[in-house]
Amino acid sequence: METENNIPLVELPAYQGPLDLLLTLIQQEKVDIYDIPIARIADQFVEAVRLLGPMDMEVTTEFLVLAAQLLYIKSRDLLPKPPKNDQDQVGEEDLRQELVERLLAYRTFKQAAQVLEGLETSSGRSYYREVDVEGLLADVEPEDPLKGIAFDDLWKAFCRVIERAEKGEEIQLVEPDEISIDVMLADVLRRVLLHPKGMRFGQLMRIGSRMEMVVSFLALLELLQSGKVRAEQLTLLSDIMIFPTKKAWEFTEEE
């Protein structure tokens, strides 16, 4: 069967890859894909790769890897068969089997690619508009984002802000003797800012631990001193009222 060892001239200019080349050789030989005459095909493969000449390195590597695999299988074929229970035997069978499966899978998709190519030609080419949605939307009045929202809802939202500030939840989580004056300063200032019409001194000194009251008083004193709040007392025994000043807003953006 090895009478004609001359390599048939392969007239395919470019292979999609080593599997493509191998498949082409097998088809040319008209042999069953499940029963590849490895020795002959391997030689043809190596020769074809040699003839393919200079290709970019990556592609060459892929061809060489398969060439090496084929030669390996071929060399195993030529060796006398070891006893059945030998592990190498299994290894060689696996290699062969894997190669066949890869070839079959590749052939399937190669055929599918040809089917797609046929579809591409037969379906003809349709073109579509590039729709300028932005342009279309420009003419459409956007829906009112406040739809269904009454002023009352806005007020309630504001109340929630006030409520949260009054609760001062962050502070209550901290042990009293760990309250830093900075945290309390922000807490007091936040509450004063939310009451531009003034806040009673008593109301500002929230009931809490002695330490909390002391610290918030210190915070208030510091705010008074820095001019961020001012205090007013209309008559001698009336409530002291605390107001935010313009300077109260100067805390910002240094966080």
Binding site: Y127, Y128, R129, E130, D132, V133, L136, L137, D139, V140, E141, P142, E143, D144, P145, L146, K147, G148, I149, F151, D153, L154, W155, A157, F158, C159, R160, V161, I162, E163, R164, A165, E166, E170, A186, R190, L193, L194, H195, P196, K197, G198, M199, R200, Q203, W249, E250, F251, T252, E253, E254, E255
Partner: protein
């Protein structure tokens, strides 16, 4: 007989895909017809589109032609493209209320009052056109100042910000605990 069907079809397809209006010269070149013939075919197309069951229209813009939709069907197109408006989140409402009362105000100030970050809510409000950038505050970092927009006033039927119910008045209406502490 008078009309060239394949060229009319090609003309319609060209006008259909064209991004910009196509001039008679260009159409004549592509269709390999003379300008007069192109005009004739355009006229034919225009006539075809006049039937009531047709939603398309031949538009002439700056001496060029393209396809558009008839004004009568505009309302359907609006339905197709109208984005369902998403209700504002509670966070966005809170930010909006703070900006409404304290404007102009910076993001840092809003964050401070709310005790939480407000950037997402603020971005939503700006995107929806309820709040806008009105300049920068003097001071370190020159942060952006935000205020409510005309659209905001319009929605609540306010003629100007002076029309905003002031906190005191609103308090009187609300007898809940929070309101009563404000006085």
């Amino acid at each position: 007989m008078l009309f060239r069907e394949p060229e009319t079809a090609a003309l319609e397809a060209l006008l259909f895909v064209a991004k910009n209006p196509l001039t008679i010269e260009l159409l004549a070149e592509i269709l390999e017809l003379d300008g007069l013939k192109v005009e004739e075919l355009l006229h034919e197309l225009k006539k075809r589109y006049t039937v009531d069951s047709c939603g398309l229209k031949l538009l002439e813009i700056n001496g060029g032609y393209k396809l558009g939709t008839k004004p009568e069907v505009a309302r359907y197109i609006e339905i197709l493209y109208k984005q369902p408006s998403q209700a504002l989140s509670n966070a966005a409402l809170e930010v909006l209320s703070i900006i409404a009362y304290k404007q102009p105000v910076t993001r840092g100030e809003v964050d401070f009052i709310r005790g939480v970050q407000s950037d997402r809510a603020l971005a939503t409000l700006v995107e929806k056109g309820l709040v806008k950038d009105v300049g920068r505050k003097d001071g370190p970092g020159r942060p952006i100042l935000y205020a409510t927009t005309e659209q905001f006033l319009l929605h609540f039927g306010l003629r100007s910000l002076e029309d905003m119910p002031n906190l005191l008045e609103v308090d009187l209406v609300h007898e809940d605990e929070v309101a009563s502490t404000i006085e």
